[in-house]
Every structure is written in C-alpha cells, then in structure tokens.
C-alpha cells in the first residue's frame, strides 16, 4: 500500500497533460505541412504564399503557435524549477520566459495574419 501525503499547488497533472496535448497538435501540424510541401515541392514562392494565406491555414498556424508557446512554457519552467534554487533569480527567469513567449506569440500572430 502506498500511503503518501499529496501536497503542492495541484497544477502538476494539468500542466503534464497540457504539454502532451500541445505536443500532439504540433506533430499533426508538422506532418501535414511537410506532406503539403512534398506534394507541391516545385510550387515556389507563389504556392507557398497562397498556402499560408488561406484562412483555415492561418487558423491552424495560430493554434499551433499557441500550442508551441504553452508547451515551451511548461518545459522551460520545469528547467528553471530543476536547476535554479534561489527564489528571486528563479522568479526573474520565469518572468523573462513569459515575456519572451508573449512577445513571440504577438510577433508570430502578426506574421501569420500578414499584418
């Protein structure tokens, strides 16, 4: 019998699941994109631009970028939690990571939607 006290903030399972679900989203998007590139390997610039310009493609790209950033957040946060013990430095690194990811998200969205 395992008889243990469960303590903590209880976000472990949620983040664990989030990391896996977002991973699957990214793999599906990548496989689809690579398949499209292989099917139209000599389409050049015009083909690439029109593929990335469809609204459904922009929606899929947006969802995938969101998945990437959530995935990266859980992973990078785990790295800081494992290796950086002083709370102040760790908190700073967490904040910088979040800013880096939000900045990347905004940049990615402007690119995907061609703003």
């Amino acid at each position: 019998m395992v008889n243990r006290q469960v303590i903590g903030a209880h976000y472990g399972l949620r983040d664990w699941l989030l990391q896996r679900v977002t991973a699957v989203v990214m793999v599906v998007y990548t496989v689809g994109l690579v398949a499209a590139l292989l099917l139209a390997h000599n389409a050049g610039y015009e083909g690439w631009k029109s593929l990335m310009g469809y609204t459904w493609m922009r929606v899929l790209s947006t969802v995938t970028i969101l998945a990437l950033l959530l995935h990266a957040w859980v992973g990078i946060r785990d790295i800081w939690m494992d290796y950086v013990q002083p709370v102040g430095i760790r908190l700073t690194l967490h904040v910088l990571t979040i800013l880096w990811l939000i900045g990347s998200f905004v940049y990615g969205i402007t690119v995907v939607w061609g703003v």
Binding site: R20, A23, V24, V27, T30, Y45, W48, K49, M52, G53, L68, L69, A72, G75, I76, I79, W100, L101, G103, S104, Y107, G108, V111, V112, G114
Partner: protein, 128 residues
C-alpha cells in the same frame, strides 16, 4: 526501504564523472534541444515572415539561408527538432506503458538517437 534510505550517498555529484545510461542521455538531449529551440523561436518566426512577405524578400531570405554557416545552424535546429520530436513520441509511448521494460526502453532510446541523426543527415543533405 529503511535500509535503502540509510545507504551512504554521494554528497557531491561530479558532472564529468556521471556516466548516463542511453535513456538518460536521450532525456538530457531532449531538454537541451528544447531549450535551444525556445531561444530560436523569434528567429524561426522571422524566417517565416520573410518567406511569405514578398517575392523579393523570399529571394533575399533564400540567399541568407544559403550562407554555409546559417545553413549549418539551421541543420543544427533541424536535429534539435527531430531529436525532440522522436524523443517526445518515445516519452508519450512510455506514458501509456508501451515499452517500459528495461530492454525495450534502452532499445527505443538508441533508436531515437539513431533515427533523429539519420533523418537530420537525409533531410539536411537534401536541403543543402
């Protein structure tokens, strides 16, 4: 259990002296490749932006990624992506208890290393 806890343990872990088993090696490379890709996110979006903005920029970006050093860095990123993806798929399978026996786990760890390196050589070679 009591005995296991009282066993003398190394108090100072000497990194160069630690010899990781193959699954441990795959695991730390999974972490390293993830961190590298995290840092490269803006660069990747920048390359995507250039590739879809205009014909002239598309051509100038093609010229940029044609520099051998840039190409080498991108092939490094390709390996990071492939290793991270292969190792990630292995971890997902381990999560659902596929191949958790010691022998199978070691074999799949070796497979991850070999397959991601092979794919890097094949895809990188084709794109070079």
């Amino acid at each position: 259990m009591q005995n296991a806890v009282q066993k003398p343990r190394p108090k100072h872990l000497d990194l160069p002296k630690i010899k990781l088993p193959v699954p441990g090696f795959v695991s730390i490379l999974h972490r390293v490749s993830g961190a590298v890709m995290f840092l490269a996110i803006p660069l990747m979006i920048w390359l995507l932006a250039g590739s879809i903005s205009s014909q002239a920029k598309f051509d100038s970006y093609r010229a940029f990624v044609a520099f051998p050093l840039v190409k080498l860095a991108l092939i490094g990123m390709l390996w990071a992506f492939l290793h991270h993806t292969c190792a990630g798929i292995r971890f997902l399978l381990l999560d659902v208890h596929v191949g958790i026996e010691l022998g199978a786990a070691r074999a799949s760890a070796k497979a991850v290393l070999v397959v991601s390196l092979l794919l890097t050589v094949i895809i990188g070679g084709a794109l070079w």
